[in-house]
Each structure stands twice: as C-alpha cells, then as structure tokens.
C-alpha cells in the first residue's frame, strides 16, 4: 500500500504504515540510514505522539488537528503539475529558489544543482543517492529521535526534502529561498526533511517559507537540521503564512561549531496551529546565536514557540527576542529554555518575550526559563504582556492622528523591532509590507502574499534561473 487516505492521525496508523512499507521506504537507504530509520521507528512506537500531559505540550492540544482525516502519500502525486500550480515572482529579491510542493522537491529535471563554487542544493532524496557519505555524516546527528515523537516519526519515514551544502570558505553569493507550498484537493498529512550544511568559515542566508495555496486542511511535520561549521555564518528566516485549517509542527535543530554565528528570524503571520521547536546547540566555544520571533495571530489561531538553547561550551552568547500581537481568540505560547552547563563559563544568555493583547479573549502563556550550572555567567530573562500603551495613543491622537491609524502605528512599531533585524534589505521591506497588511487585516494566504504571487489565472512557471545561481 503506497497511499492511505482520509484517516485521522494515530500511532496505530503510522506503525501499521511503517511495517507495510518498510522495504519501500528503505529502497535507497545505505545500511546506516536504514538502521537509523528502524531505530527512529522503534522510538516513535514507544514515544507516540505528544499530548498535554507532557510539560512542553501542556498548552498545545493537538486532538482536533489529529482527528481530521488526512491523506498521506508516500510518493509524489504524479498528477500535480507544479508549473500549473504556482509561480514564484520576487521582483527585487534576488534569491536562488528551491520549491517544495506538499513536502516533495519539485524540479525533477534538476534534482540537484551543483554550482561552480561547490555549493550543492536540491532534493535530499537525490543527495542521498549521489553523496551518501556526506549525507550520512550529518543526517540525524542533530535531530533528536529519542525524546520527540514527531522527530522520530519524521526520521522513520524520511524520503525527500531539501539538501543544501555550502563548502568550507564559501560564502553563498545570494540568499537561498526555500518555499514549501501545500496544495491538495483533500486534507493532507505531509512530512519533509531538510539537511543544511554550512561549512567552516562559510556563509548562507536561507529564507524558508511555509505557505498554503488553498483552504484545505493540512498537517505538516517538518524537520530541518542545520549544521554551521567553525566560524561559519548562518542567516535564517522562517516565514509562515498558512491557512487557518493548517497544523504545522516545525522542528529546526541548529548545531553551531566553535565561533559559528546564527541569526534566526521566525515570522509567523498566519496559521491554524503553528508549533515551532527550535533547538540550538553550541558545540564549541565562542558561538553566537540570535533568535528573533514575531507572531501576529487572530481568530482562533494558535502559535507555540519552544526555544531550547544548550550552552554546552564556554564563551557563547545567545539572545532570544520574541514578540507577539494577539487579537480576537488567538493564543500564544512561548517557552524559552536556556541550559547553561557546568563548564560553560562566561555564557551570556538573554531571553525576552513581549506580547500585546488586543482583546480580553486573546491569551498568552510565556515562560522564559534559565537552568544554570555555572557561576560565571551573565543571564537575563523577562516577559511582558499588556495592551497598547495608552500614553502613546494619546500622544499620537493629540497630533491629529486617528485612533485606528494610531493603533496601527503602535502595533507596527512594536513588531518592527523584530522586522528591523532582517539583514536583507529587500526582504525586510517586503516583510514590513506583509506585517502592515497583516495588521490591517488585508493579508491573505498565498494568493496575496507579497513574497510570491500565484493564482490559477496566472499559471506562469516555477522558475529557477540557473544562470544566476
């Protein structure tokens, strides 16, 4: 059985599916990957899916998401012609684009791009065939299959996703944009797996977008592993603009070697239920990680950011700044956990979470948390939740600015602290536009997303200009 349709998400469904399809899933596995797959499956069988009895899932109940029936395809759906589905049009943002549709890498005629400077990017499935040693060396070494059921499930069923390799000393000349679009006529469960390798003294900017094309329900379980070598630099953007029927479990595992540097930006504009698991491991001294987040939620949208930073080595610094604006019945959860291990002297760790609630029915649970086993550290954490500042409102209105405009200005200013950290100017401009539209209630999902436009009336190409990459 390759396909199973319209079933709810249960442990039994996936254990049965694995047992029936084990041989098929392992067709292209090296013995090592096959072993990893089996071990992950065993872990998943034991762990199961998380529920609200677990501390980190206490406030995010997946029952409703699970109970919907979803199709799950173990092969790309042949009938979908990506060229007819969407085009990517980013007039001023010069990026190399990698597209994924329903979790599958799309440009089959160019499954793996190998550039003159040694950069490799494309399909993970293809990379596993062509560069088994490189993939083996890193795949599954950052993601933790032993404690998180979703990650274990993803590893057990891994087939495709995106692979990017930036060799030592190579600076990627332009940002790479990775677009995940969900488009299906039925409710869809999907999993993809990304492996991003940034070499020593190398640099990569990655813009990773999750978008829905229609209003069909979906459940995505995406795992991304990102390795940054010594003195490597990673500029990472996660942009989420999904429909209200979508559930996204996004788990990103960063491993930073000595003196590596990470800026990660989580921009959540829309989604039914968004769960961002962010793990950062300092795997050598003098690393630096900034993790920024902004979430703008309304209706019954739910966003849950879980950030775990492991200061395993001395002299590293981390900074988490998450901000949110919640309207109507929206719900946000922030759990920041910084672990400073015994030997991690001179750690500098900061956590901050600030929220604005626009209604009495919007809710926030914020828990910045420091776990420290070393005396010689600088750590701080803080959390605030409140309404728009009335003093500022009066000041703006006293200058003739209408109440609604004044609210917009203040909300945008609040969000802009995070948006302003975006270091690609064109992207910053576009995200600013999107945030403004979102705050004015004008931003729709994919169709009107300014980052890429797609309409059935404009069936243009999904275009990768090889001459530019």
């Amino acid at each position: 059985m390759q396909t199973n349709i319209k079933e709810p998400i249960t442990l039994e469904r996936f254990t049965g599916l694995y047992q029936k399809n084990r041989a098929f899933l392992m067709v292209n596995d090296t013995p090592m990957l096959a072993g990893k797959r089996d071990r992950a499956f065993e872990a998943f069988s034991t762990l199961g899916f998380p529920d609200t009895s677990m501390e980190t899932w206490r406030l995010t109940n997946l029952d409703e998401s699970f109970s919907r029936g979803y199709d799950y395809h173990l092969r790309p759906m042949e009938e979908v012609d990506i060229q007819k589905v969407f085009r990517c049009n980013i007039p001023h943002l010069d990026t190399a684009v990698i597209g994924q549709l329903n979790g599958w890498y799309v440009s089959k005629d160019v499954p793996l791009m190998e550039l003159g400077n040694g950069i490799i990017m494309g399909s993970l499935a293809e990379a596993r065939k062509k560069y088994p040693q490189l993939v083996e060396k890193y795949f599954g070494t950052m993601a933790d299959d032993t404690s998180d059921g979703f990650t274990a499930l993803n590893t057990a069923f891994v087939q495709d996703g995106v692979f990017i390799y930036v060799p030592d000393n190579v600076k990627s000349p332009k940002p790479v944009q990775l677009i995940n679009v969900i488009h299906h006529e039925e409710n869809l469960f999907l999993q993809s797996r990304n492996l991003i390798l940034v070499g020593a003294n190398a640099k990569l900017s990655l813009v990773h977008c999750d978008d829905s094309y229609n209003h069909q329900a979906s459940f995505s379980n995406i795992v991304t592993e990102i390795h940054v070598g010594e003195h490597g630099v990673m500029d990472h953007y996660k942009l989420q603009n999904l429909n209200n029927n979508s559930t996204l479990i996004s788990s990103v595992f960063f491993r930073l070697e000595a003196s590596a540097s990470l800026d990660s930006h989580y921009i959540s504009l829309n989604g039914g239920l968004l769960r961002n698991n962010i793990w950062v491991l300092f795997n050598g001294p003098h690393g630096n990680a900034n993790i920024y987040g902004i979430y703008l939620m309304d209706r019954k949208q739910h966003v849950d950011n879980q950030v775990f930073v492991d200061h395993a080595w001395p002299d590293c610094s981390s900074n988490e700044t998450f901000k949110g604006i919640l309207d109507e019945h929206a719900r946000a959860i922030f759990n920041g956990h910084v672990l400073v291990r015994r030997d991690a002297t001179k750690t500098d760790a900061r956590q901050s979470n600030k929220n604005i609630l626009l209604t009495d029915t919007a809710r926030v649970n914020s828990k910045p948390f420091l776990e420290i086993y070393n005396d010689d550290v600088k750590c701080s954490h803080g959390s605030t939740t409140g309404q728009l500042d009335q003093e500022s409102m009066f000041y703006l209105r006293q200058r003739g600015i209408g109440e609604e405009t004044a609210r917009m200005l203040l909300m945008f200013a609040f969000a802009d602290e995070i948006v302003a950290k975006i270091s690609i100017p064109q992207l910053r401009q576009r995200i600013e536009d999107m945030v403004k539209k979102r705050l004015q209630g004008e931003l729709q999902i994919c169709e009107q997303c300014v980052l890429h436009c797609s309409t059935p009336e404009h069936p243009v190409e999904f275009f990768i200009d090889m001459s530019k990459v």
């Binding site: 003093e391 500022s392 000041y395 703006l396 209105r397 003739g400 602290e417 302003a420």
Partner: protein
C-alpha cells in the same frame, strides 16, 4: 473668542481636580497659567486636549464656537488644538518623519486637502527644524526615544511648528531646560506667534516669561483661577512665592 472655559469641573478616579475654572482666550493673545504643584495646571491642559482619563463633571469648554466635549482627541487636534507635553512620550519604532507625515496628512484630509507631496513635506521639515535649531538628523530617529530632556522639548516645539495650531497649550515646556534650550524653545514660540493664533503657557516659574512675554497671567490654585493680571503678576509671584496666595485663599 477662541477659547471659552466656563465653570469647568473635572475629576480623575472620583477625585475632583478642577473646581470651577473660568478662562477666556482670544486670538493673538498669550496667556500664562502659573501656580504651585498639584493645583490642576496639567489637568486643565489635558482636559482641553480631551484626555479620556479625566471626567468633566460640570461646566463647558467652547473652542471657535464649538462644544469641545463632543469632539474626539484627534478632532480637537485637527481643529487646531496642540498640547506640548510636560513629559513627551517615547515611541520606539515610529520615526519622527513617519509620525509627522501621518499627522500632517490626517489633518489635511480633515480639512479636505490632498496629502502633502513627499518633497514638499521634507522641505517643510527642514524649515521647521531650523526654527527650533535642531541640527541633528532626527528624521530617522524614533519619536523621543533616547532624547535628552532638552531635545524632547525642542521636538515638541518642532511638532507645533509643523502642525501650525490655532491654540497651543505648552505644559511646563520650560521644566528641565538649561538656559540655552529655554531660549531656543522661547524663540520658536515667539516666531510662531500670529494675530490669528493663541498660546497658553503653563509654567511653574517666572523665568520662561522673560522670553515669552504674556498678555495675561493667571494663578491656578486648588482647581480654580484665583488671580489674573498682566505680566507684572508673574514678577510679583517670583518675588513673593505662592504663600501669599495660599494665605489670601485661607
């Protein structure tokens, strides 16, 4: 008559602050309101501007013939009322340029005018910056964020110059200013004086009135204007302090 306040009573959280204020301001006049701390000077300014935390329990405020209490905060501003804040609010993330452009254009829209073209707006900003001797490039900075006390007050006068109000109420604009900043602020005000506008200058000290010469001086005490006179009243207050007022009031 530009502003006419009759028997104004106002309270906050049930506590009465203004207890029957009467005041008339005509175009072309400068009024100074003086008085000890905590007698309602800032409350009077806030109530005229429409601050919602205060409840007007009795009396009326007429401005250009209109009942001010029927107007929202922003409509009062659009009709030409400007409040220079004693403590200007810091608004991180809102640039002064964006703030002023929004304000200017919302006021223009209210008056049925088209938005000011970008180039013209920037020229206006430069011109008004010179008026209050702002040399730094404040346009890209967030409103009042990280400003010194003097910069904040200069920024208030700059905004006033940009918006060209009919009635400007300056609430202790002199507090916390050194003598140079005080001179600049006062010069800005003097340059903006016209026969068709008016100023109400709230101050604790006579010092500012050496630079901005008032036509009338009023003493606000325990929520009422208890004494009015010409500019010589300010000098008398400077000399004798407020104790004699308190004694007079028993």
């Amino acid at each position: 008559m530009l502003l006419q306040i009759k028997n104004l009573h106002a309270s906050i959280n049930g506590k009465e602050i203004l207890r029957g204020v009467n005041l008339e301001v005509n175009k072309g006049e400068v009024h100074a309101i003086m008085g000890p701390n905590g007698t309602g000077k800032s409350t009077l300014a806030s109530v005229i501007a429409g601050r919602e935390v205060f409840d007007v329990t009795a009396g009326e405020i007429r401005y250009n013939g209109k009942d001010l209490q029927k107007l929202s905060i922003e409509d009062r501003a659009r009709e030409g009322i400007f409040l220079g804040f004693q403590y200007p609010v810091e608004i991180p993330g809102v640039s002064i340029t964006n703030f002023m452009r929004t304000a200017v254009n919302e006021i223009r829209k209210f008056k049925g005018l088209d938005p000011l073209p970008g180039g013209e707006f920037l020229r206006l900003m430069e011109e008004k910056k010179r008026l209050v001797e702002i040399t730094s490039n404040l346009t890209n900075r967030s409103v009042n964020e990280g400003f010194s006390g003097g910069e904040k007050k200069k920024n208030e006068i700059f905004q006033m110059a940009m918006l060209e109000p009919m009635l400007a109420i300056l609430d202790e604009t002199d507090s916390g200013l050194d003598i140079d900043a005080l001179r600049i602020v006062a010069n800005g005000v003097n340059k903006l004086r016209r026969p068709d506008n008016a100023f109400v200058v709230i101050t604790h000290y006579q010092r500012l009135l050496d630079y901005i010469i008032p036509d009338f001086v009023h003493v606000l005490f325990e929520g009422k204007i208890v004494k009015s006179g010409g500019k010589e009243l300010a000098l008398e207050l400077e000399e004798k302090g407020y104790d004699w007022i308190k004694k007079e009031q028993g």
